[in-house]
Amino acid sequence: MTLLHAEPRGTRMSSTRKLVFFSLLVALGTTLHVAEGMIPNPFPFPGVKLGLANIVTLIALYFFGFRDGMAVALSRVVLGSLVGGVFLSPGFLMSLSGAVVSTVVMACLLGYAPCFSIKGVSVAGAVSHNVGQILAAAFLIQSQTIFYYFPFLLLAAIPTGMVTGHILDALLTRLNKSGILQEYASRPL
């Protein structure tokens, strides 16, 4: 069922407890997704943003595995775009494609490439999010000229991925220390 752990260690978290954390993550992700959409993009190319919502996806992947991580990512994109009023618009399709691609890439790195720290996984997530977005955009406008933006989006993903990775690092240290999600902590930092 999950990439990260076949069987949860220790006492199994009750399903209600898990549901609460899952819902919290979806709510947080949706809020970050919408709040982030309100920040104007200062660059003359589309799709550059901090990727704060990715933090939540990565937390879900880290503690609950691939299936729940993907569920959190999809839920926050759908809910966030409904709140923002852009459901099924080109922007929504770009977000969706970016979220799916980055969730898959991050899950693979978390599960199979322990040489990467959480910051590396975050950078990879940011880059793959942008790649997913630009693929969706190229598909939408039926033209390859959009790939002109590709190098700029790659470059932009490095600092944004680092920033979210830094936040994640601090967050995971505190979450692991607090022991709230102890039964699910699958990987030492």
Binding site: F45, S89, S143, Y148, F150, L154
Partner: protein, 127 residues
């Protein structure tokens, strides 16, 4: 940051730089050719208009209908820009003037794509 992280960042930087150089190289090559090519305007993947940008001192505005609403395109000399567009982010307007072959303005909400045709630029190099 582990060693693998650093390799990852270095790899991304490398790919980005390579693609920047490739694009830039294309622009340099195209600049040495005749100034002002053909500007192609596409809406929803369909070619709507082709404009010859080689006429000097030409001034013109074109109105067209995007997917979200109307858009205005301005042509001055051998440059073209999106003057006004009915889209939320205005990225296409802020892109400013373009005129070199290979450059493009893309408005994703309106599905408008403006690009300068490269012509047979690469053939001229290889022969």
């Amino acid at each position: 940051m582990t060693k693998a992280d650093k390799y990852l960042v270095a790899g991304i930087l490398f790919v980005a730089l390579i693609s920047v150089v490739l694009f830039h190289h294309n622009f340099l090559l195209s600049q040495s050719r005749v100034e002002g090519g053909q500007a192609c305007i596409e809406v929803h993947g369909k070619l709507i208009k082709k404009i010859d940008l080689s006429e000097k001192g030409r001034k013109e505005t074109i109105k067209l209908q995007g997917v979200m609403g109307p858009a205005t395109i301005e042509i001055a000399g051998n440059r073209i820009r999106m003057l006004d567009a009915h889209c939320p982010d205005q990225i296409c307007v802020r892109r400013g003037w373009i005129g070199k072959p290979g450059e493009s303005i893309v408005c994703i909400p309106n599905e408008i794509n403006i690009y300068i045709e490269r012509g047979d630029m690469l053939d001229a190099v290889t022969r």
